[in-house]
């Protein structure tokens, strides 16, 4: 008896799988968005590089070869060495770890907080919504980098604080977009039905409304990862971000890169290529996600 029903359930699940919007969307995306797939390939390459960094690199990221400082690319150091005799290739591969860690953490926390706050703001409405929107206005009036710098100044530098500094500007951006989507959802009768059934506010917000604003949420999330990688690089470049000896792309461009740009251009070129490629990949992928999930923007 049980075996029969189990297999029946499995069949049903499989059938559902075909109908699940997410899987369907993913399959459709692969077919219709070859460029997005290229972006995804870059993303996967980055994840692969950061997971297997120790096996892909010939040196330790903090190993100094003082006999070979600012060496041009050769067989031993394929992308050359920096002013401290560290292998640039190794530091770029390990830098992917830092970039992805900061990018994903900041984007996840920022987008999730924005999602919950945005839906809550639309759900409660009234004075809560009004006050919340004014607070978001204040945050949105700051250029991203200024707000992030102010937060770093308060908390201090270092990877964790950089993540917080990048997360904070993301929250209002996400909350704003999610709220405008959630306002429409709030008017749909199933929300009233949930309320009539006596569900708590938290349950309605998280279980009933939040899943229905997943499209804008995912679009913003992929965009945030790219932005976060760029912002981390900018902060690190200014010396207000990730600190030595952690390998980070922005940090690799700080100090030495400009000073030695003429005599040792490889110090300045490769980390920038890595940042650009990573953000390019996430943006291409993000665009494909947007085109797939947002029917209004499709085929534009």
């Amino acid at each position: 008896m049980t075996t029969v029903s189990e297999s029946a359930v499995e069949a049903q699940i499989e059938e559902l799988g075909d109908k699940t919007p997410f899987l369907k969307a993913a399959a459709k995306m692969a077919r219709k968005q070859p460029v997005g797939v290229a972006g995804l390939a870059v993303v996967i390459l980055m994840i692969f590089a950061s997971v297997f960094a120790p096996w892909l690199t010939p040196y330790h990221p903090e190993y100094n070869d003082f006999a070979n400082m600012l060496t041009a690319p050769n067989a031993e150091y394929i992308l050359g060495t920096d002013q401290f005799g560290r292998d640039i290739f190794t530091r770029i591969i390990y830098g992917a770890r830092t970039a992805l860690f900061v990018g994903f953490t900041a984007a996840t926390v920022g987008a999730v907080l924005g999602l919950v706050l945005g839906v809550a703001s639309a759900y409660f409405g009234g004075i809560f919504d009004l006050v919340f929107q004014r607070i978001m206005d204040v945050f949105m009036a700051f250029p991203l980098i200024i707000l992030a710098l102010a937060v770093v100044a308060t908390l201090g530098t270092g990877t964790e604080n950089v993540i917080i500094a990048i997360t904070i500007p993301f929250v209002p951006q996400c909350a704003r977009v999610v709220r405008s989507n959630a306002l429409a959802i709030r008017e749909i009768p199933y929300v009233d039905a949930a309320r009539a059934l006596g569900f708590g506010h938290a349950r309605i917000i998280l279980r009933h409304m939040a899943p229905n604003v997943m499209a804008p949420f995912l679009i913003l999330f992929t965009a945030f990862v790219g932005q976060a990688i760029l912002l981390e690089a900018s902060l690190s470049y200014l010396g207000m971000g990730v600190q030595e000896p952690t390998p980070a792309w922005g940090l690799m461009l700080q100090g030495g890169a400009e000073e030695y740009a003429e005599s040792a251009p490889w110090v300045a070129i490769w980390p920038g290529v890595a940042i650009s490629l990573a953000v390019f990949g996430f943006n291409l992928f993000g665009d494909a996600v947007r085109d797939t999930l947002d029917p209004r923007l499709r085929s534009r």
């Binding site: 607070i135 308060t154 470049y237 400009e258 953000v279």
Partner: protein, 323 residues
Amino acid sequence: MSKYILKRVLLMIPTLIGAGILVFFLLRLVPGDVCELRFAGTGLYVDQEQIDICRKNLGIDRPIFIQFADFMFGFFTFDYGTSMWTGKPVLEEIGLRFELSLQVAIMATFVAVIIAIPLGAISAIKQDTWLDYAVRAFSIAGIAIPSFWLGIMIILGLLIVTQEMTGIPWMPPIEYKAIWDDPVHNISQLIWPAVATGYRYSAVATRMTRSALLEVLREDYIRTARAKGLVEKVVINRHALKNSMLPVVTIIGIEFAFLMGGLVVTEQVFNLNGLGKLFVESVTNQDYAMTQSLVMLVVLIFVITNLVIDLAYAWLDPRIRYS
């Protein structure tokens, strides 16, 4: 209309007060203060008394809410005080850099517009051709390439090209001269940061132009224009482009506002003494008076730009009326 403007100006006040609260308390959360920092820099032994005197002179020994009230009152009565680090009036310090940042922002916006509108239009007209794909790749690259790295590459490129051509490597001048004093010197210094940031900002505007134009091109009146035999050039320039400029103006305006304060990284690369650099310096020195005023200035520019954009809407699209 004037009633609408008045309402909008009044609505700026809560945003400005909010920004004031945010920056004021954020700065005071930083451990230490400008007095400790100043004496720590001398490397000599300093007794507590001297630090206390310094704090008293700067007024940062007073209760925090009095300091805040003082700051807000000063802001709305145009009294910005003196820099806690250099002792010079805040307005004088800002004024020195404002000109440079404003010029770079204007030039960068100009670069962005002359890249974005033609490219966006071409991309939309030639939708789904290789030209369209090339433009889109170019604009996505603009968002992906960090402007500070592009700046380093521009400097490197200039060095290599001038070395090849003249034998003497040339770098943009470091010292700032106003455009009316020495236009050649000024432009040859500021064009590079303007290109580095302008390319980046053109990316979003290009995409916006493309998608807005695509939408407009599907409107009935475009079909009508074509049906009555108008030349395609007239259809695009007179009918389609003008009507698709609304979202593009918004994007360019908002970016301009953010550029005023957001040039931090570019100024670092090109060694420009602008508002961004002043901001980083004043944050590092825990110069409350300077940082607060700078942030308020940036936020003020942002809210005013937003108002100007909304008013520009009514001019671009006569169907929009504010009341």
